[in-house]
Amino acid sequence: MATRDPVLAMKKSKAKANSAAEKEFVFEFRAGKHNCVLKVPLQFPVQLNISDLHGRLMLLHKIPCYIESDLKTSLSNFIEKETSLDYDRGAELALQRLTMGDIDVNQLTSAWSRSYVETTLEHALPEEPSRAEDFADVYHELIHSPASDTLLNLEHNYFVSISELISERDMEIKKLQERQTTEMDKVMHELGNTLSDQDVNAVASQHFDAQQILENKWTSELQQVTEIQKQEYQEWVIKLHQDLQKPSNSSIINEEIKVQSRQLTEAADSGTRMFEEQPQLEESFTIHLGAQLKTMHNLRLVRADVLDFCKHRRHGSSGAKLRRLQTALLLYSSSLCGLVLLVDNRVNSYSGIKRDFATVAKECTDFHFPCLEEQLEEVQQVLLLARVQRSSKQKDQPENRKNGGDDKSKTVERNPSNIVPGEFYISRHSNLSEVHVVFHLCVDDNVRSGSITARDPAIMGLRNILKVCCTHDITTITVPLLLVHDMSEEMTIPWCLKRAELVFKCVKGFMMEMASWDGGISRTVQFLVPKSISEEMFYQLSNMLPQIFRVSSTLTLTSRH
């Protein structure tokens, strides 16, 4: 009687081809007068649990129980022996390849050494001290100490001086423009009489030059002041920290800080330029995500201008200082605030919302990070690098990304320094009122049409943004709900509702996905709608939200009979 295990024979075809080998386990036993042979083809390396295999063999081939333990020992011995032989064979093959010269010894050892150097602290190259990180530590410590008030006031003072400069600049430019207008009027009046077209042109170009010169002058002055402020500030912070380290005079310094801060607040109160508070419409929801284990998140629907989250308000206006403190406290923490800004395909700050944003970003010195221009320059460099890497990779595996890759690469070929919809660059700021990180998400005119789907690059970009939020602890993110910053004619009520539904649903999906990445940390997502939509529309949208997200039930406290 010879039996062959049918199951394993069947599995043979499924097994992977590489390095797997089949061996036959032969077991002989006597059952009464019969000599029986059990043959089992086994796949090596053995993935099965030996006890399971043994149990199944016993059952399937109806093997008498008196040889149960014999079969078990001989089976496990067989597998042990063969596995050991396999190990030896594999190992010696590798050694042989080395002696035969199939593998280069130097390459091999350098690969090993690289992987040790790059991944283990013991062998890693010592780290060069980074000024930015040291400053980060110092600042984080100070802002969480009594000195925080002083820091904020100092920052605010700097802000005031910059905004004074800016208003001075605006004034001067305005004056110049007025003067030029009157001059131009005069010239136009004389046109045809004493002056020719050429003269008018000359005056116009003269005016333009004058404007340019004035603007340049102001720009360089602002830049200079900013530089000085930044340096002063950083030095002061370091010094303050050093002073506080000495235990003896920390109390004195605390006193000093208090006195100083009072003066500063008084000085601050006398500021001139005020932002008027505009009534914002907003509604908050607490939601639950997940089928069984629920995670709680906060959602907020806000009708506001996107730059409202960036602009500073003067001290004195309600809550502005608290908001400032909040932003400063969180700067180096692990709960950051982000904002999605929709931009076109060029990395600069010359036009549209990019220009407006740059203006706001310049209103206050960034004491921690490079200014926006520098950051954008860096992005441009990284972008070029990324394009090079990507194209070399695509050459390596041309068959890999055939679909859709073609038209994309065409756009890239046109101008490699432009970005395509769905890509985004990130800038970091310490000088904006409620935001630390700005995601500049590239969109095209497609988002104005009514027919975008969940597969649209803009939506995929949102997903990637949420993913970065996940990996870099950005717990509050503001997203333009309609994927536009300004309303226009073609954006009708049905268009708005359709778009809002799409974005709500996609964001819900992404948030659920995020919960699996990071274990469901509670987040806040703010949906931003443009200021120009009607109040009625806003409430329509806010009614839609609880239908898509599950709003957590209110706790009802009722006395039971």
Partner: protein
């Protein structure tokens, strides 16, 4: 798990490698994060116990794929013996023998160390060898799930080096090297022993690639030991070594793996003759469920008092390592904080590590490599001071409670007054209370050790609560599992393909995937095996798989008998009808409303009962629910269902059909503790026979349970009772569906009204629901004989033809009995059910009907005739 003794708890951390962007698995689902894979593979390591290995205790997942592993730890290691100090040959052989014992045990369990080095060979205070980090190679899937290479450059064996390092960021090597075999550890041991002999580290001045090159060139040498000695200038020392040590070194440092012995072969080598006879071979402790005698190897010393000699007042260290760790966590231990304090976890502020630019497919650029992600595998000792401080007031007796006397309540010591106060606190707080958990764990540990002898006591204590740490075993005990389940489990064919495979394959990724364990591939594999085993061996039943299997197979027949039959519709229908009757019984108002809007249980409750609520709740809630569920009988799920409905009562009452469907499609949070409490309460009010089901599990053969359960009123199953002619009779499904209120059996009525002929009932009345029997026959019939204590309310006197309640003295009387269980008795079942339906309509609670009517009672002779004219 083995006791802590003089060991410490140690923790080390590493990162799993990040997954590539946006790659999906072959089944279209997102890939499982590597950290979860590692976590799943780690679980088997917890079960590997050997005196030469450091016991693994726990693994936890942090942010950004960080993993922290907790294990037994000792402060001194072989790296402490370094430089100049030379170990005596005897000591050396002993160390080698210890290491080999550990390695051999690992190999038997299919593990390879691979990271053997001087600082991973720890020494306990007696100088015994303890191997640390032995599971790293296994849990990382031979290094595939982490970025760093496993092992240390100086100790790598030539074949490992030759196979190359696999570096994920390097596209030129896309195939992983073959896994290493047991013999690589022997080479590492050789290097280690050589270092101990020479009293210096090898290749200390070399950089990594030089080291590795040197090792590879050793293949051309005849005598590796001599070459090494010459290279390091310690030829004299090596030459002076005794022959057996030299022999050992030569054997370990054999270049070709085929000529190198395995750990098992080396252990049997004659050169260890002097040592091996002193050592007693290690015996695997016998587990709770096995066929062999647990006390077979128990040897009592001649003088019993010897046992009490080494009494050093440190009772905590006599507890298992896992218990100590569990308590350490409860006492405020925080792994990440400990590691951060020691500087092992360093993190940069996230704003400094943001990328500059992200492509459409999610690949990011401009982000420098973060140094804090590099591997630092230093093990940090977890200080037990805080825990000991917390427990310093716990008396020594508390560690050894006496269980002999079943009558006495909780083993009490003086300090346990506050403990009894703790019992009244909410469960969540109790589960976080260190002292309370200590006492409970010790108690359960002892009870379970004496299982099944102390089964009754387990039941009793489980009713108070079940400590999370011992939940698995306790459930097994509650379900009455016995025998060698491991062997039984093994003997079931789990590999042969069967038709249900596909369904299982699809279902598993949908089961509680937020739980790390259940979402890991190992978890999937084990879960699949358990399910298949169930499917294959249906007509009849770990660690965690064997046990889970045994539990499942005991559980399913109890609660879900026949639910998984092919044509299960009528079984479910019956179940649901009974459920709706139970709703009507307990909450008529709600039931009226639900019936009105047509929101029948079929629409929402099927998944509840099919999965015993696991489908609707997260695991931590299920645990609590099941703790209670296992204690009740098979009708308990009904009560839970009603309790859930009652929590949603207000909203259900306020809403129409559509809103209700929406509400249940995405069930809101349920306060599980309240739910459990209420369902117990409801259960008390429900007469046993009210939930009678035709298709329930038939009565067990008496004597099936050797140690019979405590047949208390609440735990025994109605179906488990012997059938008499007073029991309920099966009813056609359509009839059942037509009835609003549940029927109860005459037996129950007799029991509840204490009408027994045989003198006073043996059970006291305290735990029973208050009952009133309502006889709706005509006055004349009532006069001819009725149950004592029943009131007579003829049908037509109370209800007008259109179902309104008529104002009359009888209804007044009925109103007075609101809140009690009302049993409607009649001649004809039809009128009784109608009467009950009317009562429910006007929101009477707890209405039920006597099955079979008054005729059932006639033969019992319990009917009394009122003495005329009084």
């Amino acid at each position: 798990m083995k006791p802590l003794k003089d060991a410490q708890l140690g923790a080390f951390t590493f990162f799993a490698s990040a997954l590539p962007h946006d790659v999906c698995g072959s089944n279209g689902l997102p890939l499982t994060p590597n950290s979860i894979k590692i976590l799943g593979r780690f679980q088997i390591l917890k079960t590997i116990s050997h005196p030469r290995l450091c016991q693994y205790v726990d693994i936890s997942r942090g942010k950004h794929e960080r993993l922290i592993v907790v294990s037994e730890h000792y402060a001194s290691s072989l790296s402490g013996f370094k430089q100049g100090h030379i170990i005596s040959p005897e000591k050396l052989l002993q160390i080698a023998y210890g290491v080999l014992e550990g390695l051999e045990f690992m190999n038997k369990n299919g593990l390879v160390h691979r990271a053997l080095s001087a600082h991973n060979v720890l020494m306990d205070y007696k100088g015994n060898v303890k191997l640390a980090k032995f599971g790293l190679y296994h849990m990382t899937d031979h290094g595939a799930d982490v970025d760093f290479p496993i092992g240390y450059p100086s100790y790598l064996s030539p074949e490992v080096i030759a196979q190359g390092s696999f570096h994920p960021s390097d596209p030129s090597h896309d195939e992983a090297p073959l896994p290493s075999g047991p013999k690589t550890d022997v080479w590492s041991l050789g290097v280690l022993l050589f270092e101990l002999c020479a009293g210096r580290r090898l290749w200390q001045k070399f950089d990594i690639s030089e080291k590795l090159k040197f090792i590879l060139t050793l293949g051309c040498m005849d005598d590796i030991v001599t070459v090494l000695a010459e290279e390091h200038g310690c030829l004299e020392t090596i030459k002076d070594l005794p022959n057996n040590v030299l022999e050992l070194l030569r054997k370990c440092l054999t270049f070709l793996p085929s000529k190198r012995p395995t750990p098992a072969e080396l252990l049997g080598d004659p050169l260890f003759n002097g040592i091996s006879f002193q050592r007693t071979p290690f015996q695997q402790p016998v587990s709770l469920f096995s066929s062999s005698l647990r006390c077979a190897h128990l040897e009592l010393p001649d003088d019993i008092s010897d046992l009490c000699k080494d009494d050093d007042e440190d009772y905590l260290s006599e507890r298992g390592i896992d218990e100590v760790y569990h308590l350490w966590c409860l006492a405020g231990g925080d792994l990440e904080k400990e590691l951060t304090n020691k500087g092992i976890i360093q993190s940069k502020p996230p704003i400094c590590t943001l990328p500059n630019f992200v492509l459409e497919d999610g690949e990011s650029f401009g982000q420098g490599r973060d140094r804090s992600f590099l591997l630092d595998d230093t093990t940090v000792t977890l200080s037990l001071c805080q825990l000991r401080n917390r427990l310093k007031d716990v008396a020594g007796e508390a560690y050894y409670p006496l269980l002999e006397d079943e009558q006495s309540s909780l083993p009490q010591s003086n300090s346990s007054n506050e403990l009894s106060a703790t019992v009244t606190l909410p469960l969540i707080i109790r589960e976080r209370d260190t002292e309370y958990q200590l006492i409970r764990i010790i108690l359960f540990d002892r009870l379970l050790k004496s299982y099944p002898y102390k089964k009754n006591l387990v039941w009793k204590e489980a009713r108070v609560d079940i400590p999370p740490l011992v939940r698995g075993l306790t459930w097994a005990a509650l379900l009455g599992i016995e025998g060698d389940i491991q062997a039984k489990y093994e003997s079931i064919d789990k590999d042969t393909p069967i038709p249900t495979d596909r369904q299982i394959e699809v279902d598993i990724p949908r089961c509680h995937q937020y739980d790390e364990l259940l979402s890991s591939p190992q978890g999937h594999i084990k879960f699949r095996r358990v399910l298949k085993a169930w499917v294959v061996s249906h007509p009849d039943l770990v660690y965690w798989q064997a046990l889970a299997y045994a539990c499942m197979s005991a559980f399913i027949p109890k609660y879900l008998y026949n639910f998984f039959l092919k044509d299960n519709s009528h079984v479910i229908q019956e179940y649901l009808t009974v459920f709706s009757q139970v709703i009507a019984f307990h909450d008529p108002e709600l039931s009226n409303h639900l019936n009105e809007i047509g929101f029948i249980p079929d629409l929402y409750a099927i998944p509840w009962f099919l999965t015993m609520f696991t489908h609707v709740f997260p695991l931590h809630k299920i645990f609590h629910l099941w703790d209670t569920l296992l204690l009740g009988n098979s009708s308990f799920p009904f009560c839970i269902g009603v309790a859930i409905l009652q929590q949603l009562r207000d909203r259900l009452l306020a809403n129409g059909f559509n809103e209700c469907i929406l509400l249940f499609s995405d069930l809101p949070e349920i306060d599980i503790e309240r739910c459990v409490r209420e369902s117990i309460n409801l259960f008390r009010w429900t007469p046993k026979s009210a939930t009678y089901r035709q298709h329930a599990q038939p009565t067990k053969v008496p004597g099936d349970n050797g140690f019979g359960k405590t047949a208390t009123y609440f735990s025994s199953d109605y179906q488990g009772m012997p059938k008499t002619d007073l029991s309920r009779e099966p009813l056609a499904l359509c009839d059942l569906k037509a009835e609003v209120s549940p029927r109860i059996s005459a037996e129950d009525l007799i029991d509840l009204c204490e009408l027994s002929l045989a003198g006073p009932s043996k059970r006291n009345k305290a735990g029973k629901p208050k009952i009133v029997a309502v006889d709706i026959r005509s006055v004349e019939d009532f006069g001819r004989g009725h149950i004592s204590g029943s009131i007579n309310i003829p049908f037509n006197t109370v209800f007008s033809p259109d179902g309104e309640l008529v104002q009359c003295p009888a209804t007044g009387a009925l109103q007075n009995y609101r809140g009690r269980v009302i049993v409607v008795i009649s001649h004809v079942m039809k009128s009784a059910t109608m009467f009950a339906a009317h009562l429910v309509k006007v929101s009477f609670q707890r209405v039920c009907v006597l099955d079979g009517g008054i005729n059932k009672l006639k033969p019992t002779g319990l009917l009394t005739v009122p003495s005329p004219q009084i």
